[in-house]
Point group: C2
Chain length 315, copies 2
Amino acid sequence: MYTQEELSAMIQKGIDTIEYPSLAPKLYDPVIYTLETGGKRLRPMLVLMAANLYTEELEQAIDPALGLEMYHNFTLLHDDVMDKAPDRRGRATVHVKWNDSVAILSGDAMQALAYQLIGKTPDHAFRPVMDLFTTTNIEIGEGQQLDMEFETRNDVTIPEYIEMIRLKTSVLVGCALKMGALIAGAPAEEAQVLYDFGTNIGLAFQLQDDWLDCWGDPKTFGKRIGGDILCNKKTFLRITAEKNAPMPQTDGMSEEEKIETVKAYYIQSGAEKACKEAIAHYHQLGMEALKKLPFDDEKLIHLKAFAAKLENRKI
Amino acid sequence: MYTQEELSAMIQKGIDTIEYPSLAPKLYDPVIYTLETGGKRLRPMLVLMAANLYTEELEQAIDPALGLEMYHNFTLLHDDVMDKAPDRRGRATVHVKWNDSVAILSGDAMQALAYQLIGKTPDHAFRPVMDLFTTTNIEIGEGQQLDMEFETRNDVTIPEYIEMIRLKTSVLVGCALKMGALIAGAPAEEAQVLYDFGTNIGLAFQLQDDWLDCWGDPKTFGKRIGGDILCNKKTFLRITAEKNAPMPQTDGMSEEEKIETVKAYYIQSGAEKACKEAIAHYHQLGMEALKKLPFDDEKLIHLKAFAAKLENRKI
């Protein structure tokens, strides 16, 4: 079994050696720029971790793993155009460094390149992997659509919110694990168990992001604490709180006052507690899925560490 | 063998009955709007025409044919955002009727839906069809990139221009025919001959578009005569003329004067003649490819009519 460091090195080497077609090289400058800004490489890591449960031969899983990283970065690139976001991971976004047209076209190329990389899946898993990826691709677009619609709706329910984050974020985590398992020749039921583990952990991860926006450590969270509150984002906390008690008046308050007032409201209304319970719930569902796999704790060490890292983010 | 009308009806019925996922129905409103504006449905027709050379069972070719129509409309939708085009086929473009974000996201969804439809290719042709489509998808992005780069370059050569229109337009024509043939179980070499026919006819078609911009019939051309001249587009005519003689001074002229002056320049410089010769050359290459197929004229009637329609556009 490979260590996390070894898997990470395989991915970095893979990214550094992606071969871009050379007929219109400038098309790929924003693609290379986007990929070299780093990020956690979470999705390709999950592909390799799942594959490594079944085989030591990870070579055939690397291109598909890179394809998911390419795909994820395509969604971020186009999201940034739609949100008019000025920066990402500390660097200017593509539409700022170049322009909107370049960002649209290079993003489209990244979706195509993702299919090219995932399309290197070996024959025995080709059809199920392509079907899984396309289904996931469509679901993620639907999640983004719902997220945009929720901005102008005042009646979003918790089940609707959970469904939105499931589509926008969690299905890709599940897809990564299932894809790795399928490429490594896992039985279909076990690949599905890994998918369920991934989507549940993905939901817990996203809900914790809502929680950390209020109570995270500014040093490790990476985003401004209270950002969701200031832009009136409909998070799990906000939707739950408003169901229980009216939102306090914050007009005329300073930003810091508004953040403190709303955080207190989230605690008093029970939303903070409900959020922690929901995180624990989906985390638990994920861990239960994992128990269905015919592997001991040692074999599952990376996946458990991945789930545990989530828990540690709270501190 | 089916008639053109029967094939056309199959495609229309297929478009009318595409099943869109229902989790975020509004995501598909711009998709349906784009597809219902019509167009010639040229690419799906070519898929079915090629398949029909080998089988009367066209059922399994219909979804992949619709996938190419979906894909083509995705490229038009995103091109219109990049070009800030106000209308397409007589209706407001998606980014005007909705907004840029909706156009970007629904276009992305159309690329994903194209993969879903083409992903219904039967097992025997699945891998070659997916590989062909992804390669074509990447080439078209490269063609669009080169087209954008050419706008700010003054040293574009004819071979570069031909390569750009090959990537931007012709490869999809070839892809449609080869895809239909592969799905219908054609031998690989014959599928490739159809691809070569398609790309050459596609090049002739695009070069004729340059010619028709100057000398087409305004009633049938569908675009304003002289449009390329007024926006100083680097067409085959312009590049060839400038190689042979300096462009006349047109500052201060009315639009009509400029169009007439440049048209005269294209004729005097020999560019008009060279353009007609290039059209005939690629048309001829296409017809020669067709001769390599083991079919008589009657069997090839639709493909020959398709190539001939091109010739008739001149009149």
